[in-house]
């Protein structure tokens, strides 16, 4: 069991072959855990063209990269990606495999764990190595975030986990040439049992929530679509990006591109200002790693206040203009 002591991080790619942030983020805890395990930090890239992601993996700290390349991997498919990833695990026998808990990551990881017959821990937010057993202590929220559970996979290898995006910071980038192992594994496209009929991407608006330093988010407490006018104007004045809760997106007040939370973006800005946001679990999942959290809500019992560093209980329509005015007065003084 476990001939290798290596720790693998899956570098998930977009259809343009660039890496998603989460894979690079995982190289950060991955570096530390791989060293503690006594193995190498290995990045895995499965894409149409792996060169961009493989280079990024080296720059962000991987010791080596294993790639599988082919046109069948341009668009993610459960069948092709599971087969390719499982092939690599069976060949190299890593000790630990970490996959970002994105939509595709959470589609892929359970399929691999089922095929290999090993344990998988979902949506982890903390990672460490248990000194006694040497196992990864996978720590994750459950019961809607009311409780944290520490999970071990003691007797099966590799030990696998999906890790929530935005929880760990990307390491500093230092250009570095590392060993790239090119594996060839092709998957017959006719054997992919799903077919893409239509991709309906949100067009027009591109919102860089993941790169934002300040985010001002509007929630159901706005009351209507026009409420985002206030949010947009406040955000513009302090150089912030506009975020939105799931409820507001579902109501059609703002586009999905702005959504923060489990089915939107995971963010970790320096400052997160939640306006009229109650703090539902699926929202908190996407923003709880923010450095400073400010909450404005008229309900004093709103859960968001339990996470907030600063907050005002009051009607956001009154509080935001007052806050903006006071900030102006103090910063321009």
């Amino acid at each position: 069991m476990g001939a290798s002591k290596d720790l693998w991080v899956f570098i998930e790619t977009k259809t343009d072959n660039t890496p998603k942030n989460v894979g690079l983020e995982l190289l950060n805890p991955g570096k530390r855990l791989a060293a503690e395990q006594g193995g190498k930090l290995v990045a895995v890239v499965i894409a149409e063209d792996t060169s961009i992601a493989a280079k990024a993996a080296g720059d962000y700290g991987a010791d080596s990269v294993i790639t599988i390349e082919g046109p069948e991997y341009k668009h993610y498919s459960t069948d092709a990606h599971t087969a390719a990833f499982t092939y690599l695990i069976e060949k190299y026998d890593p000790l630990t495999v970490m996959i970002g808990a994105t939509g595709n990551g959470r589609d892929l990881a359970p399929r691999i764990s089922g095929r290999i017959g090993t344990g998988l821990t979902a949506d982890c937010t903390e990672l460490s190595i248990d000194e006694q057993t040497g196992c990864i202590a996978w720590t994750r929220p459950a019961f809607g975030g009311n409780i944290m559970a520490v999970i071990f996979c003691a007797n099966h290898r590799p030990q696998m986990g999906t890790i929530r995006p935005g929880v760990f910071k990307k390491p500093a980038s230092q250009p570095k040439d590392i060993e790239i192992i090119k594996e060839s594994f092709s998957f017959d496209p006719n054997k992919i049992r799903t077919r893409i009929v239509e991709i309906m991407e949100e067009v027009g608006e591109k919102v860089d929530l993941e790169g934002a330093e300040i985010i001002v988010t509007g929630g159901r407490g706005l009351g209507d679509a026009a409420g985002f006018d206030l949010i947009r104007s406040f955000a513009a004045s302090i150089g912030a990006t506009v975020g939105a809760s799931r409820a507001t997106v579902e109501e059609g007040w703002i586009s999905h591109a702005h959504q923060v939370g489990q089915t939107g973006k995971s963010v970790a800005p320096k400052v997160y200002i939640a306006c009229g946001v109650s703090g539902a679990t699926q929202h908190v999942a996407g923003m709880s790693s923010s450095e400073t959290i400010i909450a404005i809500n008229k309900d004093p019992n709103a859960w968001i206040f339990n996470l907030a560093d600063y907050g005002i209980v009051g009607d956001l329509y009154e509080v935001i203009p007052l806050l903006e005015k006071e900030l102006k007065a103090k910063l321009k003084a």
Partner: protein
Amino acid sequence: MKNILVCIKQVPNTQEISIDPETNTLIRDGVESIVNPYDGYALEAAARLKDKDKDIKIYALCMGPPQAEAALRECLSISADAAYLASDKFFAGSDTLATSYILSEAIKKIESLESIKFDMIFCGKQAIDGDTAQVGPQIAECLDIPQITYGLTCECKDDELYVTKETEDGKEILAIKFPCVVTFTKPNFEPRLAGAKRRFAAKKMEIGQIGVDMLDGIDRAKIGLKGSPTQVRKTFVPQVKKGGVIFKEGSLEESASKLAGLLVENKIVVDIE
């Protein structure tokens, strides 16, 4: 004629769960048990297919303790035509992989008991207590059939199921061959409710019972607490941020002024236009 199996879980209503500040443990007493809401969306997706094709038969399957029968009766009251409960002390403590293995064996058993094959197996994307989202894909893997996760709506077209799914960039429509597993997330409509007449009828319906002895080929070394590759070592209550400065009283002008002062002083907001 198509057959749909909807896998459901009985869960505590986590919205109602709170933390005992004295003992730092979950207060679960008096918290109601419900059908996992995401499984409700899966059941609604099945019911909508049946709205268009009356020949479709909907089965519900739940693994859990005997009292989970209540959750199955709820499904029967809404739209399920038949229900099975997989319940056995040997199943207790199973992690996601062991659970999926048991469910996949139970599915094969129901197929043989009913002399049918399931065309579609629908699940909620995740349960609101465990939040893992792993059981749907792992059932698909155990049965070696394809899957689509994060489904919103679906429709049958010829020999494929068209599923509109949620993605990080928007939505996608994927087509999938039968048999298949689809997991569902919250769509932008509410699922139908139980009707009084159906509720009355559901009380008297028989619920099929599946125990470990009925699952002929099952490897008992792969189920239950001992057969699970993952184990929960400990649980703890996450620390809520203590010492957050929350202005609750006083005039809003005063609160805004004080907050602005703190934000500027601590260099949290450094520039404004």
